[in-house]
């Protein structure tokens, strides 16, 4: 009787030890390991956010580069609506030059984004590569076409993506 009880107890202890060892293996293989870090670049992994930034920044860049010497006030208001405050202050000197030169030369610029892509996407920042075609007319001169590649840094403020930097490449 005593022998049987000892045998059952020993079997139970062996079984429990096996389960405990297995549990330790599980912990070692990942049970307590942190999950792998998500990708740093979410471009087209987060499809909804990718579409949102492309859909918002593409027309914003077109508005940014398009202006008519007769509507410069309106143009500045449009730029203010699509840029961050930081970037707005960066470009203020350039806008002053446009305000001075454009009426004198009767400059009209029409910009079109002909292709848009995402270089990188984080939860509230993005970097885009846009191919932009511009047509510039001045008084008495034929239109001058211009094809550029522009890297745009965008920042998300609330639900809205705004231009936070532009670089010709």
């Amino acid at each position: 009787m005593r022998t049987d009880r000892l045998r059952r107890t020993a079997a139970l202890l062996v079984a429990l030890a096996a389960v405990a060892a297995l549990g330790a293996d599980c912990a070692g293989e990942g049970g307590t390991d942190p999950p792998p870090a998500p990708p740093a670049n979410l471009a087209f992994l987060d499809v909804e956010a990718s579409r949102a930034v492309l859909d918002q920044i593409t027309p914003a860049v077109q508005r940014f580069y398009s202006y008519d010497f007769q509507r410069l006030d309106e143009h500045e208001q449009e730029i203010m609506a699509v840029t961050t405050a930081r970037f707005w202050s960066d470009i203020a000197p350039t806008l002053e030059i446009v305000r001075e030169v454009a009426p004198r030369k009767q400059i009209v610029v029409t910009a079109t984004v002909v292709a848009a892509s995402l270089r990188g996407l984080e939860p509230s920042r993005a970097e885009l590569l846009l191919f932009v075609n511009r047509s510039t007319t001045q008084a008495g001169a034929p239109p001058q076409p211009d094809a550029t590649s522009i890297v745009v840094t965008a920042a998300q403020i609330g639900p809205v993506w705004r231009i936070d930097g532009l670089e010709l490449v």
Binding site: A11, P36, S117, L118, L129, S149
Partner: protein, 161 residues
């Protein structure tokens, strides 16, 4: 069944369940693992697009047929047919072309359909044999890629005007 046998069967069942749970845990953070491999797939398509854009804009006579071979290796479908035909049509040229991919971005990416569209901006330095000052040209390319058993291949490419 003896008490000892019952204990051992129970222990075996617990071990089995634990081992299945363990496998699932090891595989698991399913989303991050899938996310990372999908990100790698996307990034690989960008690398191949950049290689093809540079190969395409660097074609010259310095290395004879090797340049075309490098380009065609990256192409498939209509793009490959088009450039096989161009290879036969294009004659000798005395210029040398050195290209670098300035930057690139993903315009579309569908891992389920195994397709990707990539924009690449390329800067090419053009030199003539006469030793004139090299000229820099900028190109904008859009490349459509499909994933094949041999990796990403460019199925369509176009210069964006």
């Amino acid at each position: 069944m003896s008490a000892t046998a019952r204990v051992l069967v129970l222990a075996a069942l617990v071990c089995l369940a634990a081992s299945q749970g363990c496998a699932s845990t090891a595989d698991g953070g399913a989303l991050p693992v899938v996310g990372n491999s999908t990100a790698e797939l996307r990034d690989e398509s960008v690398q191949v697009a950049e290689q093809a854009a540079v190969a395409l804009t660097s074609l010259d006579d310095r290395d004879g047929e090797a340049g075309y071979d490098r380009l065609l290796e990256l192409l498939t479908g209509p793009a490959r047919q088009e450039w096989e035909q161009r290879r036969a049509e294009l004659g000798s040229d005395t210029t040398t072309l050195d290209s670098v991919a300035t930057t690139s971005g993903v315009a579309a990416f569908d891992p389920a359909a195994a397709t990707s569209t990539v924009l690449v901006a390329v800067t090419t330095t053009v030199s003539t044999e006469q030793g004139a000052t090299p000229e820099e040209r900028r190109h904008r390319l859009q490349l459509s890629l499909i994933s094949t058993p041999a990796g990403w291949k460019v199925s369509q490419l176009q210069f964006v005007e």
